[in-house]
C-alpha cells in the first residue's frame, strides 16, 4: 500500500518542498559541507545539533526547524530569525552560515557555534568574579551589536542575559532573533506590546504602546547592565502588574510631568497611586551602583529613563565617557568564560577525532619550508 506522504511526486499540493535542478544541486552541496553531530538542545520550534564544517573542522550549531503540517507549517519565530539574521552581519551578532533543506525536507539553519551565555556567568557567583573592566567590555560588545540592529532598522525585542552569547574567544554575540521585527512604519501598522521577557520589558510596553522605537531594546540592555553589577535581576516581577509596580517603585512613577503624554497610552495606570515617587536621580544610582564610576552610573541612568524619548541611543551610549576612562574594557580573549563547558567540548572533540584512522597522519609533512635538501640546515640552538 502506498502512503501518500512518501510518494515524492510532482504533486503541487504536496506538503514538502520539491527541489529540482540547480537549486537541488546547490542545496545538496551546502548540506554536504557539514556533518551533523549529537543533539544539544530542543525547543518548541527547533532541535539544535552540534555539527562541524567538514573542510575546516570548525564547530557549528545546526538548528533543525520543526515543521508541523497540522499548524501553519513553519513557526513565525524561526521565519523572523532567518529573515533578520540573513541581513545582519556584524561581529557582535550571531552569524548565520548556511541554510539547507535536509533529506526529510526539514529546514536546517547553520549557525556559528557559541560557548555559553552571559546568564550562566552572572548566576555563577561562586566561580566568576569580575569588575568594571569586564562589564565595560560586555556592554560595549552588546551595544555594538544592538546598534547594528537598530541602524539596519531591526528591533531585537528580546534582550536579556541568556540571549547574549559568547564565543570561546570571549566575543559577545546577540542571538535569538525570534521576536525581532523591522521598525514600524508611520501609519496604522501597529506593533504588539507583548514582547520582551517580562523582567526586561520597558514601561511603555506595559502601558500598551503600539508605536515604539529602538528605545525598548536600550531599556532592556540597561537592566542587563544593572544585573551585571548586582548579579541578580534588578527588577524581577512575578506578574505584569507586579513588574510595573516594581519599575515605578525603583525607577520612579511614570507621570505626565516626567513623561509628557504617557497618560494617553492605551492602558496607562498609575501603579502605585498611594506612593508616587519621582524618577530615580543620580543619588539613587550612586547609592546602588557605587562599584562603577560616576560616568558609568550616568550611562545606566540614561539607558533606564522612563520616557523612551529621553533614553540614550546605542550610538550615544557608545560615546559615553565611561568606555574611555580607566580601567579600559577587557579584551574579549581575556574575558571569563565557562570553563567546564569548554572542557566538555574538548572531550566531545576528542571523541570525534578518531580521525587518524589510517595512521598516515604522522608528522612527516611537518617540514615547513620545503626548500629542497640542497640547502644547508641550521642546528636550532635557540630552542635549547
Amino acid at each position: 500500500m502506498d502512503t501518500p506522504t512518501l510518494s515524492v511526486s510532482a504533486d503541487a499540493d504536496a506538503p514538502v518542498m520539491l527541489l529540482t535542478g540547480d537549486i537541488a544541486r546547490f542545496n545538496d552541496e551546502t548540506r554536504d559541507k557539514y556533518t551533523k553531530g549529537q543533539k544539544i538542545g530542543e525547543g518548541t520550534y527547533a532541535v539544535v545539533f552540534k555539527g562541524h564544517e567538514k573542510v575546516t573542522g570548525r564547530p557549528v550549531a545546526i538548528k533543525k526547524i520543526k515543521i508541523s503540517s497540522a499548524d501553519d507549517g513553519m513557526s513565525l519565530d524561526s521565519l523572523r530569525e532567518i529573515k533578520h539574521l540573513q541581513e545582519l552581519h556584524h561581529e557582535n551578532i550571531i552569524e548565520l552560515l548556511d541554510i539547507f533543506v535536509g533529506k526529510r525536507h526539514n529546514i536546517h539553519v547553520v549557525l556559528e557555534h557559541l560557548a555559553g551565555d552571559l546568564e550562566g556567568i552572572i548566576r555563577d557567583t561562586k566561580n566568576f568574579l569580575f569588575g568594571s573592566s569586564e562589564i565595560k567590555s560586555w556592554m560595549a560588545m552588546s551595544l555594538r551589536g544592538l546598534w547594528w540592529c537598530h541602524i539596519n532598522g531591526v528591533l531585537h525585542r528580546d534582550i536579556k542575559p541568556n540571549n547574549l552569547l559568547y564565543t570561546t574567544n570571549g566575543v559577545l554575540k546577540l542571538a535569538d532573533f525570534g521576536l525581532a521585527r523591522n521598525f514600524g512604519e508611520p501609519g496604522e501598522v501597529r506593533m504588539t506590546a507583548q514582547v520582551i521577557t517580562r523582567w526586561y520589558r520597558p514601561p511603555e510596553l506595559f502601558f500598551g504602546a503600539r508605536s515604539y522605537s529602538s528605545a525598548v531594546d536600550v531599556f532592556s540592555l540597561g537592566l542587563v547592565f544593572a544585573e551585571l553589577i548586582k548579579r541578580v535581576p534588578l527588577l524581577a516581577g512575578d506578574s505584569d502588574v507586579g513588574q510595573l509596580q516594581l519599575i515605578a517603585r525603583t525607577l520612579g512613577t511614570p507621570t505626565e510631568s516626567n513623561w509628557p503624554g504617557v497618560s494617553k497610552l492605551p492602558s496607562y495606570v498609575i501603579p502605585n497611586a498611594d506612593d508616587v515617587k519621582p524618577e530615580a536621580d543620580r543619588a539613587f544610582y550612586r547609592m546602588n551602583f557605587f562599584s562603577i564610576s560616576q560616568s558609568g552610573q550616568d550611562l545606566m541612568r540614561f539607558m533606564l529613563r522612563l520616557d523612551p524619548r529621553k533614553r540614550i541611543s546605542c550610538r550615544q551610549a557608545l560615546e559615553s565617557e565611561w568606555f574611555k576612562e580607566e580601567p579600559l574594557p577587557t579584551k574579549p580573549e581575556n574575558l571569563p568564560i565557562k570553563k567546564d563547558k569548554e572542557a566538555l567540548e574538548k572531550v566531545g572533540q576528542d571523541l570525534k577525532r578518531r580521525a587518524g584512522f589510517d595512521e598516515r597522519m604522522d608528522g612527516g609533512d611537518l617540514d615547513v619550508g620545503n626548500r629542497g635538501s640542497k640547502v644547508a640546515r641550521r642546528l636550532d640552538f635557540g630552542a635549547m
Partner: protein, 349 residues
C-alpha cells in the same frame, strides 16, 4: 661509606675549587659553578660568599671580569671550550633568526649562514680585536633589526606550540583509533559466536528454513557492518582532512602578537563607521506632514516612536545596495544580496 658521584662527568674526588681549595674529597656535596663572562670555575659557597653582596670582580688572578651572582650556573659540558661555543651560538641564533623562506634564492640563504658562521668563529676563536669587531657587528645587527628579530622569535614560538598541538592531536587520534578497532574486533567476535550458537540451535530443531534464515540474517548484518565501516571511514577522512588543514594553517601562519599600541577606544569597534559616502542626515529634518501628523499624536510619541529613526532608515534603504553589481564577484554578491552591508561599513570580520 662510598660517596656516590653527583654526575658522570664530575666523579673526580680530586676536583677542587680554585678559589678556596676545598675539594670533593672533603666536601662531597660541593657544586661547581661558572659564570658565562669568563667561565672560571668556582664552588657554590665561594659564589655565595663573594657575590651575594652584588657584582664583583672574578677572584682568579689576572681576570678582571665583572661577575653577577644570578648569572652563575652549572656547567653542561665538561669541556669549557664546548660550553663556551654553545653559549655563543645560542646567543647568535637568537639574533640572527631569519628563516630560509625570507631569502629569494638558496644561494642568499647560504651566504647568510656563512656570514653567521664567520661571526661565530671570530667570537669564539678570534684574537682580541677580532672578538671586539664581531661583538660590534652583532650589536649593530641587533639594533638595526630589532623588530624583525622579535617577530621571528614569536613566529618560532608559535610554530613550536602548533607542532606540539599537532603531535598531541596525532597521539589522541591513534589512541582513539586503537580503542575503536579493539571495540570493533570484539563486536565481530561476539557476532561470530552468536552466529555459531544460533546456527546450531536451528540445526538442532531440524528446520532447514530456519538454518537458511539465520544464514541470511547474518549475511545482512555483515554487509551492514561493512557499509557502516565504509561511511565511518569516509567521515573520518573528511574530518581528518579538515583537522589537518586547520592544524597546518596554524603552523603556516602563526598569529603574531601585534605591537602593544595604546588602545584607542573606537565606539563602533575597529574599522566600523556609520558614515555613508552617499548621504548625510541633517537632523532635525524639515519634516513631512504625513509623518509629522502621525508622530505628533500623543499615544504615538509617548510610546517613543521617533521620526528621526524613520527618516534615517528611509535614507539608508534608499541608498542600500547601490554599489552592488550582482555577478561581479561571488563573495560580494553573497553578502550584499540584501543590500544592507555595503553602504555603511567596512566589515571588520
Amino acid at each position: 661509606m662510598p660517596v656516590l658521584p653527583r654526575s658522570a662527568d664530575v666523579n673526580d674526588t680530586d676536583e677542587y675549587c680554585p678559589v678556596c681549595k676545598s675539594s670533593r674529597y672533603l666536601n662531597p656535596n660541593i657544586r661547581f659553578l661558572i659564570e658565562p663572562s669568563c667561565y672560571h670555575k668556582m664552588c657554590g659557597s665561594c659564589v655565595d660568599r663573594l657575590f651575594s653582596g652584588g657584582p664583583a670582580n672574578c677572584p682568579v688572578a689576572g681576570c678582571h671580569a665583572r661577575l653577577r651572582h644570578n648569572r652563575f650556573r652549572t656547567q653542561t659540558f665538561t669541556d669549557i671550550a664546548v660550553e663556551r661555543e654553545v653559549d655563543a651560538r645560542r646567543r647568535i641564533s637568537k639574533i640572527f633568526n631569519k628563516r630560509a623562506e625570507e631569502f629569494k634564492t638558496p644561494r642568499e640563504w647560504d651566504d647568510y649562514l656563512e656570514s653567521i658562521e664567520d661571526i661565530t668563529f671570530s667570537l669564539i676563536q678570534g684574537t682580541k680585536e677580532e672578538k671586539a669587531a664581531a661583538e660590534k657587528k652583532l650589536n649593530d645587527y641587533e639594533e638595526e633589526n630589532r623588530d624583525e628579530i622579535r617577530k621571528n622569535a614569536q613566529r618560532a614560538a608559535a610554530e613550536r606550540k602548533a607542532i606540539q598541538a599537532k603531535e598531541k592531536a596525532i597521539q589522541d587520534a591513534t589512541r582513539l583509533a586503537r580503542e575503536h578497532a579493539q571495540k570493533e574486533l570484539k563486536e565481530e567476535l561476539e557476532e561470530q559466536e552468536e552466529r555459531k550458537r544460533r546456527q546450531l540451535q536451528a540445526m538442532e530443531s531440524g528446520d532447514l528454513k530456519a538454518v537458511e534464515d539465520v544464514k541470511k540474517e547474518f549475511q545482512a548484518r555483515a554487509e551492514r557492518r561493512k557499509r557502516e565501516a565504509a561511511s565511518e571511514a569516509a567521515r573520518m577522512r573528511a574530518m581528518k582532512i579538515g583537522q589537518e588543514m586547520a592544524l597546518q594553517a596554524l603552523i603556516d601562519a602563526p598569529k603574531l602578537e601585534e605591537d602593544e599600541v595604546e588602545e584607542v577606544w573606537e565606539p563602533l569597534g575597529k574599522g566600523v563607521s556609520d558614515k555613508s559616502e552617499f548621504y548625510e542626515l541633517g537632523l532635525p529634518w524639515p519634516g513631512n506632514d504625513w509623518v509629522d501628523n502621525y508622530v505628533s499624536r500623543p499615544e504615538v510619541s509617548a510610546g517613543g516612536y521617533s521620526k528621526d529613526e524613520y527618516y534615517e532608515r528611509c535614507l539608508f534603504e534608499a541608498f542600500a545596495g547601490l554599489t552592488v553589481i550582482v555577478g561581479q564577484s561571488d563573495t560580494s554578491a553573497k553578502t550584499d544580496e540584501v543590500g544592507r552591508t555595503d553602504v555603511r561599513i567596512v566589515d571588520p570580520s
